[in-house]
C-alpha cells in the first residue's frame, strides 16, 4: 500500500499500463489460443502490384498463430514490466504488445479464411483520413482554448461545398478550393459566438452541427436530388503515384498511391505538429490554451489568436470534408459524414490533445472500422456492432483515467475576457 503511494503519477500510469498488457496477453492466450475450438489455416494475402520485393501470401494455422502471437504479447508485457521497474518508457513495448494481441485476435477471428492484409491497411488509412483532418481541426481549436464539437458540421459543410462546386464546374480543383472556405465559414460562426459573445462552446458546437445538418439536408432534397445532373454529379480525384516511394513493399502502395487530399493531410499533420511545438505561434497557442491571463500579461492578444486558430481549424476540417465527395465517391449524400466528426473528437481526446497522438488514435479507429467491415463480410464470431463500439468504449476508458488520465488544455472552453472573473 505504502509502496504504491510513493509512485509518481507517470509511474503509476506505466505500472497500470504494463500490468493491463500482461492481463490482456493472458486473456488472449486463453481466449484465442486455448479456448479456440477448431483450428483452420488463416491466409494473409498481400496484394502485389509493382513493389520491388514480392511478398505474396502467408498461411498459418489459426491456433498456432494465436498461441504464437499471444506468447509474443506476453514477452512484450514482461519486457514492459521490466522497463517500468527501471523507470523507463513503455510506449514501444505497449505498441508491440498491442499489435501482437491484435494479430492473435485476427488468427482467431478469421480462422479458415483469408485476410487481405494490404487492403486492410489501405482501407484503414482511407477511413481515417477524415478522422485525421477532423482531429487536426480539434487540435487547432482546443489547444488555443476553444472547444470544437462542431467538427462534424465543418466536415459536412466541406463535403457539401466540394461536391456541389466540383459538380457545377466539373472540376475537382474548384471543389478543393471551396471546401476549406465552407469549413472556415462554419468556424466563423463558432468563433464569433464563442469568443465575442462568450456562449458555452459545447452548446454552440452542438447547435452548429444541427444547423449544418439541417441546411445540407434541406438543400440536398431541394436542389441536389431534382437537379442531380448539374448539381450533384461531380468528378473524383484520381490517385497520384509518387515515383520511388510507391515501390516500397507493403507500405508503398498504401501510403504513396493516394489522392492529393491524402498528401495534403501528411503535410498538414507535419506542419501542425512542428509549428505547435517548435514555433512562436505554437508556443503562444499553447499558452493561450493553458493560461490566457499569463499569455495576455506578456502581450499576446488572446482572443485574436483564438479567433485565427478557430478559422484555421475550419479550413483544415473543410478540406477533410472534401475527401467525402471529390476524394471518394463524387456525389454528395445526405448526412454523409455519419458521425465521423465525433469519432475525430474521440481521437483527439484519446490522443491526449496532441497532434501525433490524435493521428495515431485516428489510424487505430480507422483500422478498427475497416477490420469490422472486412470481418463482417467474411463472417466472424464477434457481432460487428461490438467492433463498431470499440472507438467509443476506448475513449470512455481514456477519459475515466484507467490507463493514465487525459487532461484537456486548462483553459479549454473558457472564454477570456480581459479583467473578467476567469
Amino acid at each position: 500500500m505504502n509502496k504504491v503511494s510513493k509512485l509518481t503519477p507517470i509511474q503509476k500510469r506505466r505500472q497500470r499500463g504494463a500490468f493491463s498488457l500482461l492481463f490482456l496477453s493472458f486473456a488472449s492466450l486463453i481466449g484465442f489460443g486455448i479456448l479456440q475450438k477448431n483450428t483452420a489455416p488463416v491466409t494473409y494475402k498481400f496484394v502485389l502490384e509493382k513493389e520491388w520485393i514480392a511478398i505474396n501470401e502467408w498461411t498459418l494455422d489459426s491456433r498456432t498463430g494465436s498461441y504464437g502471437f499471444s506468447c509474443a504479447a506476453l514477452i512484450f508485457a514482461i519486457w514492459a514490466i521490466f522497463q517500468f521497474r527501471r523507470n523507463k518508457k513503455i510506449q514501444l513495448q505497449s505498441a508491440l504488445g498491442g499489435f501482437a494481441i491484435l494479430m492473435a485476435f485476427l488468427c482467431w477471428a478469421a480462422s479458415g479464411k483469408m485476410i487481405p492484409f494490404t487492403g486492410l491497411l489501405q482501407g484503414a488509412l482511407l477511413l481515417s483520413v477524415p478522422l485525421i483532418f477532423g482531429a487536426m481541426a480539434g487540435v487547432l481549436c482546443e489547444r488555443s482554448g476553444v472547444i470544437n464539437i462542431a467538427i462534424e458540421g465543418q466536415l459536412l459543410a466541406g463535403a457539401f461545398a466540394a461536391g456541389v462546386v466540383a459538380s457545377l464546374t466539373q472540376n475537382t480543383t474548384w471543389g478543393l478550393i471551396v471546401a476549406p472556405l465552407a469549413g472556415a465559414l462554419i468556424s466563423l460562426i463558432l468563433a464569433v459566438f464563442a469568443i465575442k459573445f462568450s456562449i458555452d462552446q459545447v452548446i454552440l458546437g452542438f447547435v452548429i452541427n444541427v444547423l449544418v445538418i439541417g441546411m445540407t439536408n434541406f438543400l440536398y432534397k431541394k436542389l441536389l436530388i431534382p437537379y442531380q445532373n448539374t448539381w450533384n454529379s461531380g468528378p473524383i480525384l484520381s490517385p497520384i503515384e509518387i515515383p520511388i516511394l510507391s515501390k516500397i513493399p507493403l507500405l508503398g502502395p498504401i501510403f504513396f498511391n493516394q489522392t492529393i487530399i491524402v498528401y495534403l493531410m501528411y503535410l498538414i499533420v507535419a506542419v501542425i505538429h512542428l509549428s505547435l511545438f517548435k514555433t512562436r505561434w505554437g508556443l503562444r497557442t499553447r499558452a493561450v490554451g493553458e493560461h490566457p491571463t499569463a499569455a495576455d500579461s506578456v502581450g499576446i492578444k488572446v482572443n485574436n489568436l483564438r479567433f485565427r486558430n478557430v478559422i484555421f481549424a475550419g479550413l483544415v476540417a473543410g478540406l477533410g470534408g472534401a475527401y467525402f465527395t471529390v476524394g471518394a465517391v463524387g456525389a454528395f449524400g445526405k448526412e454523409m459524414t455519419a458521425g465521423k466528426g465525433f469519432i475525430a473528437l474521440a481521437a483527439l481526446i484519446f490522443g491526449r490533445w496532441s497532434p501525433l497522438g490524435a493521428v495515431m488514435a485516428a489510424l487505430l479507429f480507422g483500422f478498427a472500422d475497416n477490420l469490422q467491415g472486412i470481418l463482417s463480410i467474411t463472417g466472424t464470431p464477434i457481432p460487428s456492432e461490438f467492433m463498431l463500439m470499440a472507438p467509443y468504449i476506448a475513449t470512455i476508458i481514456a477519459v475515466t483515467g484507467f490507463v493514465g488520465r487525459v487532461r484537456a488544455p486548462a483553459a479549454d472552453g473558457i472564454p477570456y475576457n480581459r479583467g473578467g472573473s476567469h
Binding site: 482546443e142 472547444i147 464539437i149 460562426i189 459566438f193 464563442a194 459573445f197 462568450s198 456562449i199 458555452d200 462552446q201 459545447v202 452548446i203 454552440l204 452542438f206 447547435v207 452548429i208 444541427v210 444547423l211 445538418i213 439541417g214 441546411m215 439536408n217 434541406f218 438543400l219 440536398y220 432534397k221 431541394k222 436542389l223 437537379y227 458521425g339 465525433f342 473528437l345 474521440a346 481526446i349 457481432p383 456492432e385 461490438f386 463498431l388 463500439m389 467509443y392 468504449i393 475513449t395 470512455i396 477519459v399 475515466t400 483515467g401 488520465r405 487532461r407 484537456a408 488544455p409 486548462a410 483553459a411 479549454d412 472552453g413 473558457i414 472564454p415
Partner: protein, 392 residues
C-alpha cells in the same frame, strides 16, 4: 396586485427573447425556402413577380406546416372534429420530447450537460419493449411494469455518466457522446438477436408490445393522441416541484450554481451528480417508453428518431425551466408534425425544421445580437448558457 403586475413584467421580459428569436428564425427559414428554388431566378427580370413568387412559396410552406400541426380543413368533410387530427399528432410527438427535454433541463440545473438523452431514450425504449412483449400481465400492471423496466434500464445508463463524472472527473459531454453511439450499436445488435427478432421478419423490428402494455388512446381510434402527453405533463409538474420545493432539488441547484460552495455547505457532490443523472436517464427513458407504448408499439432501429438531440434545443429554448421546456417541446412537436405535411404537400423538405430549431437557439444564445436587431433594452440575457470548460 402589485406582485401580480411584477410577475407579468418579469415573464414578459423573459419570454420576449425566445419569442423574438423564434420570429427571426422563422423569417430566416422563410427566406431560405423562398430563394432556394432555382425556378424563381428565371423571373429575375421582373422584381415584383420575383419577390411575389418567393414569398408565395414560403407562405405555402408555412401554411402547410400549420395544417399539419394544428388544424386541417381538408379533413373535415366527414366530421368537423377530424380537422384536429394534426393537433393530435403534435401532442403525440410532443410527449416524448417533453420528457427528453426535461432530462436535459434537469441536468442543466445541476450544472451538467446531458447530451446523452438519445442513448437513455434508446435504453428506455429497450426496457419498455422487452417487458411489453416478453411478459403477459393484467392490463394496468403490465403498462406500469413496462414503464418501470424503461426507467430502471435508462436510469442506470444515465447514472453511469454521473458516477463516472463523480468518481473520475470524466467530462459528462464526452462520456454521453460516446455512450450515444454505443447505445445505437447496442440496439442494432439487440434487434438481430433471437429474443428481439419478430417472428417471420428479417428487418430489425422487435415483436409488438402486448395490448395490455399499450397506453390508452384518449379520443378514440381515429386519433393517435394517448395518455403519454398527460404522463409527460405530470412529470413536468413533478420536476418543477422537485426543483423548487424539495431539499434534494435545492441540492441539485446548489451544485449547479457553485459546486465548491455546495461542497463547503456539506452537500455530497458525488451523490448529487450521480442521482441527478439517474433521474435524467429515467426521464429520457420514460420518453422512450411513451414512444414505444403510446405510438410505435414496437422497438425498431430508428425508434429514437432525433428525440434526444431535439431535447437539447428544447431545453435551451425553454431556458432550462420545466414550464418553458413543456412549451418549447409543444412548439417543436408542432414543427415536427407539421413538417411531415409540409414535405408531402409542398416541395419544402422537413429539414427546414432543423434549421429553424438551430437558429432559434443561436439567436437566444446571443441576446446581444437580438437586442441589436430589435433595438431593445429590457431583455433578459441568456445567463443560463454561461460557458464552462472541459476540465470544469
Amino acid at each position: 396586485m402589485n406582485k401580480f403586475k411584477k410577475y407579468i413584467e418579469e415573464t414578459s421580459k423573459s419570454i420576449a427573447l425566445p419569442l423574438l428569436a423564434f420570429f427571426l428564425a422563422i423569417l430566416s427559414g422563410g427566406l431560405l425556402i423562398a430563394f432556394s428554388d432555382p425556378k424563381i431566378y428565371k423571373l429575375w427580370k421582373s422584381p415584383l413577380e420575383f419577390l411575389g413568387t418567393g414569398f408565395a412559396s414560403a407562405g405555402h410552406a408555412y401554411l402547410a406546416l400549420i395544417q399539419g400541426s394544428i388544424f386541417d380543413g381538408n379533413l373535415t368533410s366527414k366530421n368537423f372534429l377530424l380537422g384536429f387530427y394534426p393537433l393530435s399528432e403534435t401532442f403525440v410527438v410532443a410527449a416524448p420530447l417533453i420528457l427528453t427535454g426535461l432530462s436535459v433541463t434537469l441536468a442543466f440545473r445541476a450544472g451538467l450537460f446531458n447530451i446523452g438523452a438519445q442513448g437513455q431514450f434508446i435504453f428506455g425504449a429497450i426496457g419498455a419493449s422487452y417487458v411489453g412483449f416478453h411478459y403477459n400481465l393484467p392490463p394496468v400492471i403490465h403498462a406500469l411494469a413496462a414503464i418501470l423496466g424503461a426507467i430502471v434500464l435508462a436510469g442506470l445508463w444515465g447514472g453511469l455518466v454521473g458516477f463516472l463524472k463523480a468518481r473520475t472527473g470524466a467530462h459528462e459531454v464526452i462520456v454521453t457522446i460516446m455512450l450515444n453511439y454505443i447505445s445505437v450499436y447496442f440496439l442494432l445488435w439487440l434487434l438481430s438477436t433471437q429474443t428481439f427478432l419478430r417472428k417471420g421478419r428479417q428487418d430489425p423490428i422487435a415483436p409488438p408490445v402486448n395490448e395490455n402494455a399499450r397506453l390508452p388512446k384518449l379520443f378514440g381510434m381515429d386519433y393517435r393522441i394517448n395518455l403519454g402527453i398527460f404522463i409527460a405533463l405530470g412529470v413536468a409538474y413533478l420536476i418543477h416541484i422537485l426543483l423548487s420545493r424539495t431539499t434534494w432539488g435545492f441540492q441539485f441547484r446548489s451544485v449547479g450554481a457553485n459546486t465548491l460552495a455546495a461542497k463547503t455547505a456539506g452537500m455530497s457532490v458525488p451523490f448529487v451528480m450521480t442521482s441527478v443523472m439517474v433521474i435524467c436517464g429515467a426521464l429520457a427513458g420514460l420518453g422512450g417508453a411513451v414512444q414505444v407504448m403510446g405510438s410505435e408499439y414496437a422497438l425498431t432501429a430508428g425508434v429514437a428518431g432525433s428525440f434526444g438531440f431535439d431535447a437539447i434545443t428544447v431545453a435551451l429554448l425553454g431556458r432550462a425551466k420545466p414550464l418553458g421546456t413543456v412549451l418549447a417541446a409543444l412548439l417543436f412537436g408542432a414543427l415536427r408534425a407539421g413538417g411531415l405535411t409540409m414535405q408531402a404537400n409542398t416541395t419544402t423538405p422537413i429539414d427546414i425544421v432543423l434549421v429553424i430549431q438551430a437558429l432559434v437557439v443561436l439567436f437566444i444564445a446571443a441576446p446581444a445580437m437580438v437586442r441589436a436587431i430589435f433595438k431593445l433594452k429590457n431583455v433578459k440575457s441568456g445567463t443560463d448558457m454561461a460557458a464552462k470548460g472541459w476540465n470544469g
